[in-house]
Protein backbone atom coordinates (compact mmCIF):
# COMPACT_ATOMS: atom_id res chain seq x y z
CA UNK A 1 0.00 0.00 0.00
CA UNK A 2 1.65 3.18 -1.08
CA UNK A 3 1.30 6.43 0.81
CA UNK A 4 -0.38 9.46 -0.77
CA UNK A 5 1.40 12.80 -0.96
CA UNK A 6 -0.96 14.57 1.44
CA UNK A 7 -0.69 11.73 3.92
CA UNK A 8 3.09 11.87 3.73
CA UNK A 9 3.05 15.65 4.16
CA UNK A 10 0.89 15.40 7.25
CA UNK A 11 3.27 12.78 8.59
CA UNK A 12 6.17 15.20 8.11
CA UNK A 13 4.25 17.99 9.85
CA UNK A 14 3.48 15.70 12.80
CA UNK A 15 7.11 14.64 12.94
CA UNK A 16 8.28 18.27 13.07
CA UNK A 17 5.74 19.08 15.78
CA UNK A 18 6.79 16.15 17.92
CA UNK A 19 10.45 17.01 17.51
CA UNK A 20 9.80 20.63 18.44
CA UNK A 21 7.86 19.77 21.55
CA UNK A 22 10.60 17.38 22.66
CA UNK A 23 12.92 20.40 22.56
CA UNK A 24 10.82 23.34 23.78
CA UNK A 25 13.92 25.42 24.46
CA UNK A 26 14.67 25.59 20.74
CA UNK A 27 11.11 26.71 20.17
CA UNK A 28 11.37 29.45 22.77
CA UNK A 29 14.79 30.82 21.90
CA UNK A 30 13.74 32.81 18.80
CA UNK A 31 10.78 34.20 20.73
CA UNK A 32 13.00 35.32 23.59
CA UNK A 33 15.37 36.79 21.02
CA UNK A 34 12.41 38.72 19.57
CA UNK A 35 11.69 40.15 23.04
CA UNK A 36 15.31 41.02 23.71
CA UNK A 37 15.81 42.82 20.39
CA UNK A 38 12.72 44.94 20.94
CA UNK A 39 13.97 45.80 24.42
CA UNK A 40 17.18 47.16 22.91
CA UNK A 41 15.39 50.02 21.18
CA UNK A 42 13.76 51.82 24.12
CA UNK A 43 17.03 51.41 26.01
CA UNK A 44 19.15 52.80 23.19
CA UNK A 45 16.78 55.47 21.89
CA UNK A 46 14.37 56.80 24.46
CA UNK A 47 11.64 55.40 26.66
CA UNK A 48 9.36 58.27 25.68
CA UNK A 49 6.10 56.76 24.47
CA UNK A 50 5.42 59.18 21.63
CA UNK A 51 8.85 58.59 20.14
CA UNK A 52 8.49 54.85 20.62
CA UNK A 53 5.17 54.85 18.86
CA UNK A 54 6.82 56.45 15.83
CA UNK A 55 9.58 53.86 15.82
CA UNK A 56 7.40 50.91 16.80
CA UNK A 57 6.49 49.42 13.38
CA UNK A 58 10.09 49.44 12.25
CA UNK A 59 11.37 48.03 15.53
CA UNK A 60 8.72 45.32 15.56
CA UNK A 61 9.41 44.30 11.98
CA UNK A 62 13.18 44.32 12.23
CA UNK A 63 12.99 42.20 15.38
CA UNK A 64 10.51 39.80 13.79
CA UNK A 65 12.68 39.46 10.68
CA UNK A 66 15.84 38.76 12.65
CA UNK A 67 14.30 36.27 15.02
CA UNK A 68 12.60 34.41 12.15
CA UNK A 69 15.94 34.20 10.38
CA UNK A 70 17.48 32.78 13.54
CA UNK A 71 15.04 29.89 13.59
CA UNK A 72 15.18 29.32 9.82
CA UNK A 73 18.73 28.15 10.06
CA UNK A 74 17.53 24.93 11.70
CA UNK A 75 14.96 24.17 8.99
CA UNK A 76 17.04 21.51 7.20
CA UNK A 77 20.26 21.57 9.17
CA UNK A 78 19.41 19.06 11.90
CA UNK A 79 17.95 16.57 9.45
CA UNK A 80 20.93 16.96 7.13
CA UNK A 81 23.41 16.40 9.95
CA UNK A 82 21.88 13.19 11.32
CA UNK A 83 21.13 11.74 7.89
CA UNK A 84 17.34 11.73 8.19
CA UNK A 85 17.04 14.27 5.36
CA UNK A 86 18.62 11.69 3.06
CA UNK A 87 16.02 9.18 4.16
CA UNK A 88 13.28 11.74 3.50
CA UNK A 89 14.56 12.45 -0.02
CA UNK A 90 14.54 8.70 -0.76
CA UNK A 91 11.04 8.21 0.60
CA UNK A 92 9.32 7.91 -2.81
CA UNK A 93 7.60 11.24 -2.13
CA UNK A 94 8.25 14.39 -4.18
CA UNK A 95 10.93 16.54 -2.57
CA UNK A 96 8.77 19.62 -3.13
CA UNK A 97 6.02 18.10 -0.97
CA UNK A 98 8.52 17.41 1.81
CA UNK A 99 9.86 20.97 1.59
CA UNK A 100 6.32 22.38 1.75
CA UNK A 101 5.42 20.24 4.75
CA UNK A 102 8.59 21.15 6.61
CA UNK A 103 8.22 24.85 5.89
CA UNK A 104 4.58 24.94 6.97
CA UNK A 105 5.45 23.10 10.17
CA UNK A 106 8.30 25.50 10.73
CA UNK A 107 6.06 28.51 10.27
CA UNK A 108 3.43 27.12 12.63
CA UNK A 109 6.12 26.64 15.27
CA UNK A 110 8.02 29.90 14.80
CA UNK A 111 6.13 32.46 12.70
CA UNK A 112 2.70 31.80 14.13
CA UNK A 113 4.11 31.76 17.65
CA UNK A 114 5.79 35.09 16.96
CA UNK A 115 2.54 36.56 15.66
CA UNK A 116 0.73 35.40 18.78
CA UNK A 117 3.37 37.01 20.97
CA UNK A 118 3.51 40.29 19.06
CA UNK A 119 0.66 42.04 20.98
CA UNK A 120 2.80 41.79 24.09
CA UNK A 121 5.72 43.49 22.37
CA UNK A 122 3.37 45.95 20.67
CA UNK A 123 1.96 47.05 24.00
CA UNK A 124 5.45 47.65 25.32
CA UNK A 125 6.17 49.78 22.24
CA UNK A 126 3.02 51.83 22.80
CA UNK A 127 1.23 50.60 19.68
CA UNK A 128 -2.49 51.28 20.22
CA UNK A 129 -4.83 48.29 20.40
CA UNK A 130 -6.73 49.62 17.40
CA UNK A 131 -3.74 48.85 15.18
CA UNK A 132 -3.45 45.25 16.38
CA UNK A 133 -5.55 43.57 13.67
CA UNK A 134 -3.48 45.11 10.88
CA UNK A 135 -0.26 44.40 12.71
CA UNK A 136 -1.20 40.76 13.28
CA UNK A 137 -2.30 40.28 9.69
CA UNK A 138 0.85 41.91 8.30
CA UNK A 139 3.11 39.88 10.59
CA UNK A 140 1.33 36.64 9.72
CA UNK A 141 1.71 37.27 5.97
CA UNK A 142 5.24 38.58 6.37
CA UNK A 143 6.58 35.71 8.50
CA UNK A 144 4.96 33.14 6.22
CA UNK A 145 6.59 34.72 3.15
CA UNK A 146 9.87 34.93 5.01
CA UNK A 147 9.63 31.23 5.84
CA UNK A 148 9.44 30.43 2.13
CA UNK A 149 12.33 32.74 1.27
CA UNK A 150 14.23 31.29 4.19
CA UNK A 151 13.58 27.77 2.95
CA UNK A 152 15.46 28.67 -0.23
CA UNK A 153 18.31 30.17 1.79
CA UNK A 154 18.38 27.25 4.23
CA UNK A 155 18.39 24.81 1.32
CA UNK A 156 21.31 26.61 -0.30
CA UNK A 157 23.41 26.81 2.86
CA UNK A 158 22.52 23.51 4.51
CA UNK A 159 25.85 21.74 4.12
CA UNK A 160 28.04 24.75 4.81
CA UNK A 161 30.07 25.25 7.94
CA UNK A 162 29.58 28.99 8.21
CA UNK A 163 26.04 28.79 6.94
CA UNK A 164 24.22 31.04 9.39
CA UNK A 165 25.81 34.38 8.45
CA UNK A 166 25.55 33.48 4.78
CA UNK A 167 21.87 32.61 5.24
CA UNK A 168 21.20 36.13 6.54
CA UNK A 169 23.30 37.64 3.77
CA UNK A 170 21.24 35.79 1.19
CA UNK A 171 17.77 36.13 2.66
CA UNK A 172 17.73 39.67 4.10
CA UNK A 173 18.02 41.50 0.75
CA UNK A 174 15.23 39.32 -0.62
CA UNK A 175 13.11 40.13 2.41
CA UNK A 176 13.37 43.92 2.15
CA UNK A 177 10.05 44.33 0.31
CA UNK A 178 8.37 42.50 3.20
CA UNK A 179 9.91 44.93 5.67
CA UNK A 180 8.78 47.90 3.60
CA UNK A 181 5.17 46.83 3.18
CA UNK A 182 4.82 45.25 6.61
CA UNK A 183 6.20 48.18 8.56
CA UNK A 184 4.23 50.62 6.45
CA UNK A 185 0.96 48.73 6.97
CA UNK A 186 1.52 48.76 10.72
CA UNK A 187 2.57 52.40 10.64
CA UNK A 188 -0.53 53.49 8.77
CA UNK A 189 -2.77 51.50 11.09
CA UNK A 190 -1.23 53.31 14.06
CA UNK A 191 -1.85 56.65 12.39
CA UNK A 192 -5.44 55.58 11.76
CA UNK A 193 -4.98 55.60 7.99
CA UNK A 194 -6.11 52.89 5.61
CA UNK A 195 -3.53 50.15 5.42
CA UNK A 196 -5.32 47.90 2.94
CA UNK A 197 -2.95 48.76 0.08
CA UNK A 198 0.17 47.62 1.89
CA UNK A 199 -1.61 44.51 3.16
CA UNK A 200 -2.68 43.62 -0.37
CA UNK A 201 0.91 43.94 -1.54
CA UNK A 202 2.02 41.69 1.31
CA UNK A 203 -0.66 39.15 0.44
CA UNK A 204 0.36 39.23 -3.22
CA UNK A 205 4.01 38.72 -2.30
CA UNK A 206 2.99 35.87 -0.02
CA UNK A 207 0.96 34.08 -2.71
CA UNK A 208 3.70 34.64 -5.27
CA UNK A 209 6.41 33.31 -2.98
CA UNK A 210 4.31 30.34 -1.79
CA UNK A 211 3.88 29.30 -5.42
CA UNK A 212 7.47 29.50 -6.59
CA UNK A 213 9.67 29.19 -3.51
CA UNK A 214 8.99 25.49 -2.73
CA UNK A 215 10.37 24.53 -6.13
CA UNK A 216 13.39 26.77 -5.70
CA UNK A 217 14.00 25.38 -2.20
CA UNK A 218 13.70 21.78 -3.43
CA UNK A 219 16.13 22.55 -6.27
CA UNK A 220 18.49 24.14 -3.74
CA UNK A 221 18.38 21.02 -1.57
CA UNK A 222 19.11 18.82 -4.56
CA UNK A 223 22.18 20.90 -5.30
CA UNK A 224 23.55 20.95 -1.77
CA UNK A 225 22.72 17.38 -0.79
CA UNK A 226 24.64 15.79 -3.63
Amino acid sequence: MSVGVLEAMSLVVRREMRLAFRRPDQLLQPLVFFLIVTTLFPLSLSPELSLLRDMAPGVLWVAALLSSLLSLETLFKGDAEDGTLEQLTLSAQPLVAIVIAKTIAHWLLSGAALVLMSPLVATALAIPVGAFPTMLASLALGTLTLSWLGAIGAGLTVGLRRGSVLLSLIVLPLAMPLLIFGASATDRAIGGEGSAGALYFLAALCVFTCTLAPFAAAAALRITLE
Binding site: M1, S2, L11, G83, T84, Q87, T89
Partner: protein, 215 residues
Amino acid sequence: MNGAAKMPEPAALLTAEKIHVWRGERHVLRGVSLKVESGRLLHLFGPNGTGKTTLLRVIAGLLRPEQGRVCWDGRPIGEAREQYQSAMAYASHEAALKADLTALENLRYAVGMKRRASETELRAALEETGVGGCADLPARVLSAGQKRRVAMARVLAMRASLWLLDEPYANLDTSGGALVSRLLEEHLDRGGLALVIAHHALELGRSIDRLELSP
Protein backbone atom coordinates in the same frame (compact mmCIF):
# COMPACT_ATOMS: atom_id res chain seq x y z
CA MET B 1 8.75 -11.99 10.23
CA ASN B 2 5.49 -11.96 8.33
CA GLY B 3 7.07 -9.48 5.93
CA ALA B 4 8.48 -12.54 4.22
CA ALA B 5 5.06 -13.25 2.82
CA LYS B 6 5.33 -10.40 0.33
CA MET B 7 7.56 -11.34 -2.55
CA PRO B 8 9.16 -8.71 -4.73
CA GLU B 9 8.30 -8.86 -8.39
CA PRO B 10 10.14 -11.66 -10.12
CA ALA B 11 13.34 -10.95 -11.97
CA ALA B 12 13.94 -7.49 -10.59
CA LEU B 13 17.16 -6.11 -11.96
CA LEU B 14 19.51 -3.33 -10.99
CA THR B 15 22.17 -2.23 -13.44
CA ALA B 16 24.73 0.52 -13.45
CA GLU B 17 26.58 1.33 -16.63
CA LYS B 18 29.91 3.09 -16.85
CA ILE B 19 29.48 5.39 -13.88
CA HIS B 20 31.89 8.33 -13.80
CA VAL B 21 32.04 10.70 -10.87
CA TRP B 22 34.44 13.56 -10.31
CA ARG B 23 34.86 15.18 -6.94
CA GLY B 24 36.47 18.48 -7.82
CA GLU B 25 39.73 17.42 -9.46
CA ARG B 26 39.51 13.83 -8.32
CA HIS B 27 38.12 11.26 -10.75
CA VAL B 28 36.55 9.09 -8.05
CA LEU B 29 34.63 6.57 -10.11
CA ARG B 30 36.06 5.67 -13.48
CA GLY B 31 33.49 3.84 -15.50
CA VAL B 32 32.15 1.40 -12.92
CA SER B 33 29.50 -1.02 -14.18
CA LEU B 34 27.59 -3.56 -12.18
CA LYS B 35 24.52 -5.76 -12.23
CA VAL B 36 22.44 -7.25 -9.43
CA GLU B 37 19.60 -9.71 -10.03
CA SER B 38 16.86 -11.09 -7.85
CA GLY B 39 18.19 -13.28 -5.07
CA ARG B 40 21.75 -12.03 -5.56
CA LEU B 41 24.02 -10.01 -3.31
CA LEU B 42 26.85 -7.86 -4.56
CA HIS B 43 29.62 -7.28 -2.05
CA LEU B 44 31.41 -3.97 -2.66
CA PHE B 45 34.86 -3.73 -1.15
CA GLY B 46 38.17 -2.01 -1.54
CA PRO B 47 40.55 0.31 0.33
CA ASN B 48 39.38 3.58 1.84
CA GLY B 49 38.82 6.41 -0.58
CA THR B 50 38.06 4.28 -3.63
CA GLY B 51 34.51 5.57 -3.90
CA LYS B 52 32.45 2.72 -2.42
CA THR B 53 30.10 5.06 -0.60
CA THR B 54 30.02 7.39 -3.60
CA LEU B 55 28.98 4.49 -5.82
CA LEU B 56 26.28 3.44 -3.38
CA ARG B 57 24.99 7.02 -3.26
CA VAL B 58 24.92 7.17 -7.04
CA ILE B 59 22.93 3.94 -7.11
CA ALA B 60 20.57 5.23 -4.42
CA GLY B 61 19.96 8.29 -6.60
CA LEU B 62 21.44 10.70 -4.05
CA LEU B 63 24.25 11.69 -6.37
CA ARG B 64 24.01 12.32 -10.08
CA PRO B 65 27.00 10.85 -11.91
CA GLU B 66 28.76 13.00 -14.51
CA GLN B 67 28.45 10.10 -16.94
CA GLY B 68 26.71 6.76 -16.96
CA ARG B 69 23.34 5.67 -15.70
CA VAL B 70 21.63 3.49 -13.17
CA CYS B 71 18.59 1.46 -14.25
CA TRP B 72 15.97 -0.34 -12.24
CA ASP B 73 14.09 -2.95 -14.25
CA GLY B 74 15.45 -1.45 -17.41
CA ARG B 75 14.36 2.12 -16.71
CA PRO B 76 16.74 4.90 -15.63
CA ILE B 77 16.13 5.62 -11.94
CA GLY B 78 15.61 9.32 -12.65
CA GLU B 79 12.58 8.51 -14.80
CA ALA B 80 11.06 5.86 -12.58
CA ARG B 81 11.96 7.69 -9.38
CA GLU B 82 8.87 6.85 -7.38
CA GLN B 83 8.75 3.15 -8.22
CA TYR B 84 12.46 2.86 -7.64
CA GLN B 85 12.37 4.57 -4.28
CA SER B 86 9.45 2.50 -3.04
CA ALA B 87 11.33 -0.64 -4.02
CA MET B 88 14.56 0.45 -2.38
CA ALA B 89 15.83 0.77 1.19
CA TYR B 90 19.06 2.64 1.79
CA ALA B 91 21.06 2.56 5.00
CA SER B 92 24.02 4.93 5.07
CA HIS B 93 26.98 4.39 7.37
CA GLU B 94 25.31 6.65 9.90
CA ALA B 95 22.17 5.34 11.56
CA ALA B 96 20.05 8.33 10.40
CA LEU B 97 17.97 8.50 13.56
CA LYS B 98 16.49 11.56 15.22
CA ALA B 99 18.05 11.67 18.68
CA ASP B 100 14.93 13.16 20.28
CA LEU B 101 12.52 10.60 18.88
CA THR B 102 12.13 7.07 20.21
CA ALA B 103 13.26 4.13 18.13
CA LEU B 104 9.64 3.34 17.29
CA GLU B 105 8.84 6.93 16.28
CA ASN B 106 11.94 7.02 14.14
CA LEU B 107 10.68 3.98 12.30
CA ARG B 108 7.15 5.34 12.06
CA TYR B 109 8.19 8.62 10.42
CA ALA B 110 10.70 7.03 8.07
CA VAL B 111 8.81 3.91 7.01
CA GLY B 112 5.45 5.70 7.05
CA MET B 113 6.53 7.82 4.08
CA LYS B 114 6.82 4.71 1.92
CA ARG B 115 4.13 2.36 3.11
CA ARG B 116 1.45 2.16 5.73
CA ALA B 117 2.94 0.08 8.49
CA SER B 118 1.05 -0.68 11.71
CA GLU B 119 2.68 -0.15 15.08
CA THR B 120 2.70 -3.93 15.70
CA GLU B 121 4.61 -4.41 12.48
CA LEU B 122 7.20 -1.80 13.41
CA ARG B 123 7.58 -3.28 16.88
CA ALA B 124 7.99 -6.72 15.33
CA ALA B 125 10.76 -5.36 13.11
CA LEU B 126 12.56 -3.92 16.14
CA GLU B 127 12.03 -7.24 17.95
CA GLU B 128 13.52 -9.05 14.96
CA THR B 129 16.74 -7.02 15.11
CA GLY B 130 17.00 -7.52 18.87
CA VAL B 131 16.10 -3.99 19.97
CA GLY B 132 12.44 -4.59 20.84
CA GLY B 133 13.18 -3.53 24.38
CA CYS B 134 14.43 -0.13 23.22
CA ALA B 135 11.38 0.70 21.12
CA ASP B 136 10.19 3.45 23.44
CA LEU B 137 13.57 4.87 24.36
CA PRO B 138 14.81 8.04 22.68
CA ALA B 139 17.48 7.23 20.12
CA ARG B 140 19.80 9.56 22.04
CA VAL B 141 20.35 6.98 24.80
CA LEU B 142 21.00 4.03 22.49
CA SER B 143 24.50 2.68 21.92
CA ALA B 144 26.06 2.79 18.45
CA GLY B 145 25.35 -0.92 18.00
CA GLN B 146 21.73 -0.52 19.04
CA LYS B 147 21.31 2.39 16.64
CA ARG B 148 22.68 0.23 13.86
CA ARG B 149 20.11 -2.45 14.75
CA VAL B 150 17.29 0.12 14.67
CA ALA B 151 18.51 1.18 11.23
CA MET B 152 18.37 -2.47 10.13
CA ALA B 153 14.84 -2.70 11.52
CA ARG B 154 13.95 0.30 9.36
CA VAL B 155 15.32 -1.42 6.27
CA LEU B 156 13.36 -4.53 7.19
CA ALA B 157 10.10 -2.67 7.81
CA MET B 158 10.29 -0.88 4.46
CA ARG B 159 9.84 -4.31 2.81
CA ALA B 160 11.87 -3.17 -0.13
CA SER B 161 13.18 -5.58 -2.73
CA LEU B 162 16.51 -3.75 -3.07
CA TRP B 163 18.70 -3.19 -0.04
CA LEU B 164 21.59 -0.73 -0.29
CA LEU B 165 23.67 -1.09 2.87
CA ASP B 166 26.76 0.96 3.67
CA GLU B 167 28.85 -0.85 6.29
CA PRO B 168 25.95 -2.67 7.97
CA TYR B 169 28.39 -4.61 10.17
CA ALA B 170 30.02 -1.53 11.71
CA ASN B 171 29.66 -1.19 15.49
CA LEU B 172 28.00 -4.60 15.80
CA ASP B 173 29.09 -7.40 18.15
CA THR B 174 29.33 -11.03 17.02
CA SER B 175 25.64 -11.70 17.52
CA GLY B 176 24.78 -8.49 15.70
CA GLY B 177 26.97 -9.47 12.76
CA ALA B 178 25.33 -12.87 12.62
CA LEU B 179 21.94 -11.16 12.72
CA VAL B 180 22.75 -8.95 9.71
CA SER B 181 24.00 -12.00 7.79
CA ARG B 182 20.84 -13.93 8.66
CA LEU B 183 18.59 -11.02 7.60
CA LEU B 184 20.51 -10.73 4.34
CA GLU B 185 20.12 -14.44 3.65
CA GLU B 186 16.39 -14.31 4.34
CA HIS B 187 16.10 -11.28 2.12
CA LEU B 188 17.85 -13.07 -0.73
CA ASP B 189 15.71 -16.17 -0.16
CA ARG B 190 12.66 -13.99 -0.71
CA GLY B 191 14.12 -13.01 -4.06
CA GLY B 192 15.44 -9.69 -2.83
CA LEU B 193 18.51 -7.88 -4.14
CA ALA B 194 21.29 -6.46 -2.00
CA LEU B 195 24.31 -4.26 -2.49
CA VAL B 196 26.51 -4.28 0.58
CA ILE B 197 29.68 -2.38 1.43
CA ALA B 198 31.77 -4.31 3.96
CA HIS B 199 35.48 -4.40 4.74
CA HIS B 200 35.64 -8.06 5.69
CA ALA B 201 34.64 -11.10 3.69
CA LEU B 202 30.92 -11.79 3.87
CA GLU B 203 30.13 -15.29 5.04
CA LEU B 204 26.67 -16.18 3.90
CA GLY B 205 25.47 -19.71 3.26
CA ARG B 206 25.35 -19.06 -0.47
CA SER B 207 27.44 -17.72 -3.30
CA ILE B 208 27.69 -13.98 -3.60
CA ASP B 209 29.06 -11.62 -6.22
CA ARG B 210 31.99 -9.39 -5.42
CA LEU B 211 33.13 -6.11 -6.85
CA GLU B 212 36.43 -4.60 -5.81
CA LEU B 213 37.03 -0.91 -6.27
CA SER B 214 40.70 -0.08 -6.60
CA PRO B 215 42.35 3.31 -6.24
